[in-house]
């Protein structure tokens, strides 16, 4: 956790808000450690919130930031740690190591411990975590009840004009992931998706990926790219006759720091807001 004074975060055991924070170590070579925010009164009928960190690896910060609101709803927060040593490139889900399998294994273990059930979960990701989150949801849309992608650096577009991971076109070689990510596109496009990004996250920085093709298709900064992706999802859904349940929320006066988006941009409110219902598809596309 960087740039954040400890005293600004909730304590590990918060009796007032009814939760405790737990560190769970990784088990096995491909296992993931995680931070858990466990409500004292869990409700089985509410979805777990799985929060994926960015390349700053601020998993604990996420678990603590969401803990009180989640506890009020009886929800468990799971913030896995894709550590720097073992999980470079986890954002792309299947390239290098299989981050998707690691998350599935973690959820299986937590299910055995009674912390998560079989029902779909809410998947949140910030920055690199948002990259992971939207790609994981493309592969396994049936496991997700609400996708919240915040401040992703760039996206996999829902078309075959570009090869994976930029789009769903097949890469060269036998192991072509693009079509596999696109196979369940119909179901993915039926998910409620909230796209969050700070209004000040409108300039490329040293971590913003840039290639001529990426910049041309998605824009040069995260705000533009979020708009591009939301618009692309909406168009893809409508082309299939599906209701578009995607909403872009810009976080006023926020840049690319998670904690700023929490403190100043109301990020937590957006994460816990009900997703767009099926029959209320007023997709808010920013101009």
């Amino acid at each position: 956790m960087k740039n954040l004074p400890k005293q600004s975060l909730p304590p590990a055991h918060d009796t007032l808000h009814g939760f405790h924070i737990v560190w769970r170590r990784a088990h096995g070579r491909n296992g993931l450690a995680c931070w858990l925010a466990i409500p004292h009164q869990r409700r089985a009928d509410t979805p777990a919130l799985v929060a994926i960190h960015g390349i700053q690896r601020g998993a604990e910060e996420m678990a603590r930031s969401f803990a009180a609101r989640a506890a009020a709803e009886g929800r468990v927060v799971i913030a896995p740690v894709f550590d720097e040593a073992g999980w470079t490139g986890y954002q792309r889900v299947v390239q290098r190591r299989r981050a998707d399998l690691a998350l599935i294994a973690l959820l299986d273990e937590l299910a055995l411990e009674g912390l998560v059930g079989k029902r779909p979960f809410t998947l949140f990701g910030f920055s690199g975590g948002a990259q992971f989150a939207h790609r994981f949801a493309m592969l396994y849309p049936h496991r997700i009840d609400h996708l919240i992608a915040a401040a992703a650096g760039w996206y996999t577009l829902p078309d075959r004009h570009s090869v994976f991971p930029y789009g769903l076109g097949a890469e060269s070689g036998r192991q072509a992931w693009g079509p596999k990510f696109g196979a369940a596109l119909d179901r993915f496009l039926q998910l409620p998706v909230s796209v969050l990004v700070g209004t000040l996250d409108n300039l490329p920085d040293e971590t913003t990926r840039s290639t001529p093709e990426l910049d041309r298709r998605q824009g040069r900064d995260r705000l533009t790219r979020a708009r591009t992706w939301t618009r692309a999802l909406t168009q893809a859904a409508r082309a299939r006759g599906l209701e578009a349940r995607f909403r872009l929320h810009t976080l006023a006066d926020c840049g690319h720091r998670f904690i700023d988006c929490v403190r100043d941009g109301g990020l937590v409110d957006h994460v816990f807001a009900p997703p767009v219902p099926l029959d209320a598809c007023t997709t808010a596309l920013a101009a």
Binding site: L101, L139, H142, R187, G241, L242
Partner: protein, 363 residues
């Protein structure tokens, strides 16, 4: 006037259920039967129907050196062992063909899962079957012969809304069960509630246990719906059995079923089933398991001739990169190996591809 003689009553011998349970090896094919029902032994073997329980004694060990027990483990067989098996037929090109008929002196073990009958044909590569002296048919206290069908799952109509993926093949031992279990496992890991079902074949625990080990939420085969073997069974009964298995899978919460049809697509029951609505209207797709490229091409041609098309190839063919390349080039279908089917991302994508038309139609 004196009552007409009752040959069944005349030849009935009381047996102790406790002694039977303790002394006899009960085969896998009898696993649904309540053993404490057995209280009489009827000598009238000529009246045996498929599924009737037979008490016998091993007289000569042949091909089957072990019996698959109802408890799920294999048991070594010894000459003199008492065994309880079911009368049934078998169709197995790699082993035996046999009928559900019992000779009074000696009968053949047609399948190690516990199927007794009369061998008609034998593959030249295998030894003669283990022989059993039948002591009689097991009956309950009322003199009714116990049949595995008495303990079948209650019949139900086929469910709606379930995605059914069929696995067929070129022959016995072409890799259908490995493919079915692998796909069931991959889908289960991806988070789906999956059923693994064997719709046709001969009762044996190998395939059944593979399905259980895959993690499928519901596992069932034709023995669960009262058939020791589907060979020579009426097609309507096999169809109704599959409907019942699918319905019980749905009741157990499964949304997807992987259904294996035994043997090759030329086998009589499998070939007939592929022409029936239960497959044509309800299966979302068929995967074809083949041992080599030529079998894959031939199998696809057989399916095409009856208006069906596999969505992928699999089976032992997938172990050979060159064979797989030949098959893919000749058929235009992907060859899916075990690793791909086990992978939740691949399995999930495969399922999505099969479901896509329905989704589009719904939209």
């Amino acid at each position: 006037m004196s009552p007409a003689p009752n040959p069944t009553a005349r030849t009935a011998i009381a047996v102790s259920p406790l002694a039977l349970a303790a002394q006899a090896k009960w085969a896998f094919s009898t696993r649904r039967v309540r053993q404490d029902r057995a209280s009489q032994l009827l000598a009238d073997l000529a009246q045996a129907r498929p599924g009737d329980l037979v008490l016998g004694r091993i007289v000569r060990i042949g091909f089957q050196k072990r019996l698959q027990l109802a408890s799920g483990r294999p048991a070594d067989l010894y000459t003199g062992d008492l065994v309880v098996m079911a009368c049934g037929a078998r169709y197995a090109p790699d082993q035996f063909e046999g009928l559900a008929e019992l000779d009074a002196d000696e009968v053949d073990i047609l399948a190690a899962g516990g199927v007794l009958g009369r061998m008609r044909e034998r593959n030249a590569k295998v030894a003669a079957p283990t022989r059993v002296a039948p002591l009689g048919l097991l009956a309950d206290a009322a003199g009714k012969v116990i049949n595995v069908g008495d303990h079948a799952l209650p019949p139900l109509q086929a469910p709606t809304g379930m995605t059914v993926i069929g696995v067929v093949g070129a022959s016995m031992n072409s890799g259908k069960t490995t493919a079915s279990a692998s796909l069931a496992h991959g889908l289960q890991r991806a988070g789906f509630e999956v059923a693994a079902i064997k719709a046709t074949g001969t009762g044996a625990f190998g395939d059944y246990n593979s399905f259980v080990d895959s993690g499928a939420r519901f596992v069932g085969d034709f023995t669960d719906v009262g058939m020791v073997s589907t060979y020579n069974e009426p097609l309507e009964r096999i169809e109704a059995g599959l409907d019942t298995l699918l319905a019980h899978a749905a009741a157990a919460g499964c949304e997807i079923a992987v259904v294996e049809l035994a043997d090759g697509v030329l086998q009589q029951e499998t070939a007939a089933l592929l022409r029936r609505p239960v497959v044509r209207d309800h299966f979302a797709g068929l995967m074809f398991a083949a041992p080599d490229a030529l079998a894959a091409v031939g199998g696809c041609a057989v399916l095409n001739a009856i208006g069906l098309e596999a969505f992928a190839l699999t089976g032992t063919l997938s172990l050979s990169p060159l064979g797989a390349q030949e098959a893919e080039a000749a058929t235009g279908l992907r060859v899916l190996g075990r690793d791909e089917l086990l992978d939740p991302a691949h399995a999930s994508a495969l399922l999505a591809g099969l479901r896509a038309p329905a989704l589009k139609a719904a939209a």
